[in-house]
């Protein structure tokens, strides 16, 4: 049985430096995933719903995991999380909140809105590489992600 295409990981983060660092961290961990980026909540929902510039499914392959920053302009991660989990077509995509905030309120609220996990962004690159490696091991090797028929993906 041929292995499925590498899982698409969609990262929503308004900070260009953080996006770049995460990309480098994935490279360092030798994870061969298709890492895609959106810069804010509006962009994220357009991608997931295949609207506007994302109407071509080839440009917006369905992600297997979403990495979600909470503080973004136009529409923040909290709102986007609520929308994703309320949408029956999107609710089964695991959402990992990856944000600078360590506020108890943000942590609790994220889980209440059905985030799968919450990670506070580390400061050093080394720590980020470790986290990405752990994410890879857990979500992509250990865990079974929901299977989708090819036609939908």
């Amino acid at each position: 049985m041929a292995k499925a295409d590498p899982i698409v990981i969609l990262m929503a983060d308004d900070d260009a430096d953080d996006r770049e660092m995460t990309r480098e961290a994935f490279e360092s961990s030798h994870l061969a995933n298709d890492l895609r980026f959106v810069a804010d909540g509006v962009d994220l929902m357009d991608y997931l719903n295949r609207r506007g510039i994302y109407s071509d499914p080839a440009k917006s392959p369905r992600p297997g995991i979403i990495l979600l920053d909470l503080n973004m302009p136009k529409k923040d991660g909290r709102e986007a999380l609520q929308e994703i989990k309320a949408d029956p077509k999107l609710t089964d995509i695991p959402v990992i909140v990856l944000t600078t905030s360590k506020e108890e309120e943000d942590i609790n609220r994220s889980y209440t809105l059905h985030a799968n996990s919450y990670i506070t962004k580390p400061v050093t690159f080394g720590a980020l590489v470790n986290i990405v490696a752990s994410l890879g091991k857990y979500w992509l090797e250990i865990v079974e992600l929901p299977h989708k028929r090819r036609s939908i993906a």
Binding site: D17, M21, T100, V123, F125, G126
Partner: protein, 497 residues
Amino acid sequence: MATHQRTHQQEQFRSMMAGVQDCAILLLTRDGIIDSWNAGAERMKGYRADDIIGKHFSIFYPKDAIDKGWPEFELKVAASEGRFEDEGWRVRKDGSLFWANVIITAWKNDAGDLAGFLKITRDITARREMELALRESEQRFRHLVTSVKDYAFILIDVTGHVRSWNPGAEHIKGYTEAEIIGKHFSVFYLPEAIEQGWPEHELEVARTEGRFEDEGWRVRKDGSRFWANVIITPFHDDTGKLRGFWKITRDLTQKKLAEEHLRRSNRELEQFASVAAHDLQEPLRKIQAFGDRLQTRAASVLDGQSKDYLERMLNSATRMRLLINDLLTFSRITTKAQPFVPIDLERIVKEVVSDLEVRILQTGGRVELYPLPVVEGDAVQMRQLFQNLIGNALKFRKPDEPPVVTLGATNLGSFVEVTVRDNGIGFEEVYLDRIFEVFQRLHSRQEYEGTGMGLAICKKIVERHGGSITAKSAPGGGATFIVKLPIEHKGGQNGES
């Protein structure tokens, strides 16, 4: 025969009258000369029969009454109308005054001519004093009720209809007395409250429990709302029967608006502070992140001095992040204050010690905990307080001596005194005030890390709880921090510092 009988009757009558003690009963001639006396008259006015018979009855009157011709006038009225009654001052033999009720009746002889007068006098000085006292008390009450403009004093009858009003009620509720008397007091309530039967319920509680007090929205005549503090008390007559209710209403709209304003203010401040903290942290995070990558990436090409500069830069960024966090904590003592609940200080301290376990082990130190009481407070803030105090005790240890931190409490009645004692480096007491100030430090950064906020945070927390904090110390002799906290807070505790 008849004359004899009548004379005998007259004699009997006279002797009866003579014996009466409580009234002065006198016979006067047509001209007002005193013709007879009795025991009551002697008792009341002080004269004996032989001193007074034959004198004019105006002797009993005060000088100004005589000058005005009162005695003669009274006789004239009695003669023409048959009867005169009055109340006024009379004079005793010793010159003292008493308040008298006097009835002068004309008596006619068989031929119908005026024969003389019967004067009956009662000393009602005591009764008059009571009446005056009562009137004065009523006047004082009325004065209080009418002059108080900020309180509505309303009397409602047992069925809930308004029976009396005062200027305060008009001021607060808008109705004039004429408009409101007789109406049911539920007209002051919101439609929803009336639907739910609140007015009747309040009277019922007042009736059964003796008092009802509440705060809530009420409606003015013009339909506008105000926030009222209402007390309803029943009153009963002497037989214990319910006569009605007193309703005292205060308009606390200003206070409520002020409270809401403060709450909103705190919310805005909190939002501002957390956004500011986040946005200020952002560039620091970048400095740390890229600085860290630079350290790794350029390790081979940087000389020792350059690496040192880089290290210092990164340390400063870290320090600034800690400072921003501390400032946020400081501001949140008021903006994120929780209402006071009973908390077990011993349990809080045990949790703090558990959090600090690593540090305690690293320093080879120990914490000795004696019993601590339960006080009313904010658990999160109490935790912060002890975390800072115990953390400091561990931090400022002597370099060659494992730190020992001792916590204990003394009961001072309504307050409790908690002490945190350490065996560390201590400080000069001359700096006692400084150490509790924001950003104040006694040591350079190289010697001891820290933001200079720890004790300022402790002080703010303690003061928000209505307590105080101070310390005793000597250089090289450790330090004892003394926190005084009230055990209970009755009212006035919701984050207003």
